[in-house]
């Protein structure tokens, strides 16, 4: 592929990929649910269960503190399921993309379509999670969405889902065998989940570690979502949003180029 125009995805063609995934998930709709329950169980178990033993965090109830963190984690997990596991198997085992590439579809269309699907799915989780968090807060208490800014946490979650999806696809292009997943999950995903600001503020961490945490996407995802749900928005959110947009776009471009090299030889 030489010219830029040939590299750019077509919106129309990319939608065929979304349609394909809808057809697949018609058969396995239970799988969709499972991704939604995970953050909910965390919220109930840790936020409400453990939360009873934890004093307020910076003036917030523990539930209100971790709800936005779990929202970010839910976006990340969805991205890993769709962007990593599913794409890896379609790429290396099922050869699904080789079949699709015999049609007018191009690698750019496929990558963009898969991304859109991951974002759609992530957005569904985010919306459902936000509604439940709101209801739980209102009915059982204490409230977990503390400000009208919380409405914006939905589009923010869509952005977070998009960034994580692009990164997941990008990482997947580097994986060569199934065992490589363990490395990514064990050394990348789990630490981000635990130390990225989901369960406790990152300023609890030693300086050196905090520096590392502040580079990873999870931290910026949480720092984008938490001010919105708790109503503590200030100018710093722009920096976090910019981080998500830029790293997401970069990851997408790298993913597309690497997939092109893997699929077209």
């Amino acid at each position: 592929m030489t010219s830029l125009a040939l590299m750019l995805p077509s919106l129309r063609r990319s939608h065929h990929m979304v349609e394909r995934n809808l057809v697949v998930y018609r058969h396995v709709w239970m799988v969709i649910f499972s991704g939604f329950f995970e953050p909910l169980f965390y919220l109930l178990g840790i936020g409400l269960g453990l939360g009873g033993l934890v004093p307020d965090v910076g003036g917030l109830s523990y539930g209100a503190f971790i709800a936005p963190g779990l929202l970010a984690a839910s976006c990340m997990n969805g991205a890993i399921t769709d962007g990593m596991f599913n794409i890896y198997f379609k790429l290396h085992h099922q050869k699904t993309y080789d079949g699709i590439l015999a049609t007018p579809m191009r690698v750019a269309d496929i990558t963009f379509g898969e991304m859109q699907w991951a974002v759609v799915r992530g957005s569904l989780y985010a919306a459902a999670f936000l509604v439940i968090v709101w209801l739980l807060g209102e009915v059982v208490g204490p409230p977990m969405l503390l400000s009208p800014w919380a409405v914006l946490s939905f589009p923010a979650a869509v952005l977070v889902a998009a960034t994580f999806s692009a990164m997941a696809v990008c990482v997947t292009t580097f994986l060569r065998k199934v065992q490589d997943f363990d490395i990514v999950i064990g050394l990348g995903v789990m630490p981000m989940f635990l130390f990225g600001g989901t369960f406790f503020p990152v300023d609890q961490l030693p300086d050196a570690v905090r520096w590392v945490v502040q580079v990873v996407p999870m931290y910026h995802a949480v720092e984008t979502l938490r001010p919105l749900t708790t109503g503590t928005v200030d100018g710093s959110i722009a920096g976090h949003v910019a981080y998500l947009v830029l790293t997401g776009t970069a990851a997408f471009v790298v993913a597309m180029r690497r997939l092109e090299r893997t699929l077209v030889k």
Binding site: E19, H27, T96, G99, T103, M105
Partner: protein, 311 residues
């Protein structure tokens, strides 16, 4: 852009290199509308590499390639819109059903849903999979998967159908079922491009073929032409005990146009096999067995490359 006359596919000095390996080493060929054109060659001959370049699935390293009047480098999507591809390894979508495989494939070609639904129904009947339309792909037999892949390749009513080893690995019955579908396509005037390492498949299906070996084309013509050009009409196959064979000392000289020594037999290329067999017997050569048969493309291949097609 639209060629009214002239070849549908034109290759000149077409080359594909993978690092140091020249998978396709400067080949020339033309495929004309309505013909069944074959690439016959052993493993590693470069058949798949050639097909993949035509299908715009693999970039051309050097040389010229025109497919339906277009350049694969710049018009890949437009070319692919008009090709039907049956790859060497089935790559059906295993996460959706038989019927959905065709419906979804139609979508990738931007075929409207109602047209897609109609063609899906017709094609599933054509490849005798109508009753399995709601089945998953995995439980289908090898032959059924191959037929489904063929149906999928026809969903866009292609101008050219590329089939890479359409029957390799199938049992004889499944092969015949596929050949039968391909004959029907031929009768409807389809242009078929197929690779095979079975000479019987090439003889049955191809109007014209090229014989490939080690990335090069070693001969081109219709199966009958090639046999006439590179072989005699009949072949006498002799099996001999090793010690007899070692002690022949020219006892077979002058009997045949050409004698080919193979590990398990000696082949004599002659016009009349029965007569030659009598002559061999008259010379008192003790035989384990003898067989007279018509010459095939296998003999052409052996003559041209010095080795057998299927090892």
């Amino acid at each position: 852009m639209e060629p009214t006359d002239g070849p549908l596919i034109r290759a000149r000095n077409l080359t594909k290199r993978f690092d140091a390996v020249a998978a396709v080493d400067g080949v020339d060929f033309d495929v004309w509308p309505g013909e069944a054109f074959g690439f016959l060659g052993p493993n590693g001959a470069g058949k798949t590499s050639t097909m993949r370049m035509i299908a715009c699935a693999s970039p051309v390293t050097a040389g010229e390639l025109t497919v339906i009047g277009m350049d694969p480098r710049t018009e890949a999507s437009a070319i692919k819109a008009r090709l039907g591809v049956v790859p060497q390894q089935d790559n059906l979508d295993v996460e959706i059903t038989v019927e959905e495989n065709l419906l979804m494939y139609a979508r990738y070609f931007d075929i409207p849903r109602n047209v897609a639904a109609r063609r899906t129904k017709e094609l599933l009947e054509f490849v005798q999979l109508g009753e399995r339309r709601r089945s998953e792909v995995e439980p289908l037999s090898g032959g059924m998967k191959r037929r489904l892949t063929i149906a999928r390749a026809l969903i866009n009513e292609p101008d050219v159908i590329l089939l890479d080893e359409p029957t390799t690995g199938l049992d004889p019955q499944a092969r015949h079922a596929i050949w039968d579908r391909l004959y029907r396509l031929k009768r409807r005037g389809a242009t078929l491009l197929l690779t095979t390492h079975y000479m019987d498949e090439a003889e049955q299906l191809c109007d014209r073929l090229v014989i490939m070996d080690k990335g090069r084309i070693v001969a081109e013509g219709s199966p009958r032409d090639l046999i006439a050009r590179y072989s005699t009409r009949e072949v006498l196959e002799l099996r001999l005990h090793d010690d007899v064979r070692a002690g022949l000392h020219g006892q077979l000289d002058g009997l045949a146009e050409r004698v080919q020594e193979l590990p398990d037999r000696v082949q004599l290329y002659v016009a009349d096999g029965e007569r030659t067999l009598e002559q061999v017997r008259a010379r008192g050569v003790p035989l384990v067995s003898a067989l007279v048969r018509r010459a095939t493309l296998e003999d052409v291949f052996l003559r041209l490359t010095g080795h057998t097609l299927v090892d």
